[in-house]
Symmetry: C2
Subunit: 260 residues, 2 copies
């Protein structure tokens, strides 16, 4: 199968109009697809309303018990079910599945090192056969950033990582592309010019772009992750705006493709 894994984050989810627009375009995405999402600013807002003080250590947010409950409610509950209900209204047979559901994604609580991140999970195992059964039936799994450890504990897990790990697990038998939607039209040569996106980056051009300081700071971990996915069998990783993903999947010249 040709499978597209599409990840959306706060820059889509936080704006009802943008989310609706994206979900209506999602119908046009051909082939088998998986949607991965976080919860954007809604979780922060709910925490604030509940008077939960963000637990920050060295600039990193810690997932304590209360925060885990909030992200489970917002990601796996509100956002996930709203997306699923809207996709269903577009005649897409969406099914929301956290990592616990059908043992889709088993993770391990991040070991306590210099920082104790709390209830944060690092992915250990993806149930690819379950995804295959659903995709074969034209079902669209909608996966929030919540996993479990197999011993009854839910865990907060980075949505970018979930998209990559699902992709890698499916890439053993299928042609998998990952589409990361973010707030830019792609990897930009000039951050002030939205149209300066680089259409394709491969291993050798990546090294050159880093040397020339065209790609720097925040983009480096993002692209390192993309190349890690490529090295593990993913066909291509795309970076661009959510309102262009349906064009990108048709191989139209939008956004940035990361290829071998």
């Amino acid at each position: 199968m040709k499978i597209s894994i599409i990840k959306i984050g706060g820059n889509v989810i936080d704006f009802p109009d943008k989310l609706d627009h994206f979900l209506s375009l999602f119908e046009e995405v051909p082939g088998q697809k998986v949607l991965v999402h976080g919860g954007g600013v809604l979780a922060t807002r709910l925490s604030e309303r509940l008077g939960i003080t963000p637990n920050m250590v060295e600039g990193r947010r810690i997932t304590d018990q209360e925060t885990l409950e909030v992200v489970t409610m917002v990601y796996a509950g509100l956002v996930n079910k709203q997306i699923v209900a809207k996709l269903q209204s577009h005649h897409i047979n969406a099914m929301g599945l956290s990592g616990a559901d059908g043992n889709l994604i088993r993770a391990i609580k991040r070991p306590v090192g210099k920082i104790d991140y709390g209830y944060v999970g690092d992915v250990q195992d993806v149930n690819a056969p379950l995804l295959e059964i659903l995709l074969e039936k034209n079902c669209v799994p909608v996966v929030p950033a919540i996993t479990h450890d197999g011993s009854g504990q839910l865990l907060n897990t980075n949505a970018d990582t979930i998209a990559a790990e699902i992709g890698i697990a499916l890439a053993e038998k299928h042609e998998v592309s990952i589409f990361y939607c973010f707030d830019k039209k792609g990897v930009l040569k000039d951050i002030s010019d939205e149209d300066s996106f680089i259409p394709e980056i491969n291993f050798s051009s990546y090294e050159k772009l880093k040397e020339e300081n065209v790609i720097h700071s925040g983009m480096i971990p993002k692209l390192d992750n993309a190349f890690k996915a490529i090295s593990k069998g993913i066909l291509q990783v795309w970076l661009g705006r959510a309102d262009q993903v349906h064009e990108a999947i048709k191989e139209e010249k939008v956004g940035t493709f990361i290829r071998f």
Copy 2:
């Protein structure tokens, strides 16, 4: 297939120890099973913490937009995923599915009559083939009291009704029993004596028990619903305590069975 639909409510969900105990016993329940749940007092508590004033009309709680968001978060998010993760730790392949997921339960927003109940759904259609596929694979669907209307709107739906409607839909092809867990050992002859439960009620004994005023007030709508399910092909409806349901399923003499 022999299928057991088990419904739990606040009297189990609201007490972590009771819920854990119930979920550990759930492993012993033989055969194919579906778990239906509400959200108990957690939704009320979250509403209170968020400062949402309960919208009551003629003693009935109205599901306004904010309340719908709260119940979606609590039922389909927190409670559902905690139950699923715990069942997974007991080696039960649980999968949490709201009515929107895989178009499992389509409902219609209750028409506005004397009272506008808000975002409350009356069940129209249950996707029995989806449940059959999952049950054949030894998966245990865990269904919160949230449905959708097929046009993108989530709806709050009574968990007892969901259990009955799922049962009726599956009864066309399968031998279905419904187990309603509540706070009593069964239908009691003497409300002050927990051991006075009536082991079996059928149509004719029901009429007699009502005439004799043994069964009255709150039990009548509950039993009327049970007999409605029986008349639509359900084999038996059981009423009793959650910690006895595994015995009831083995046809041991606990609780009250409603049969034709």
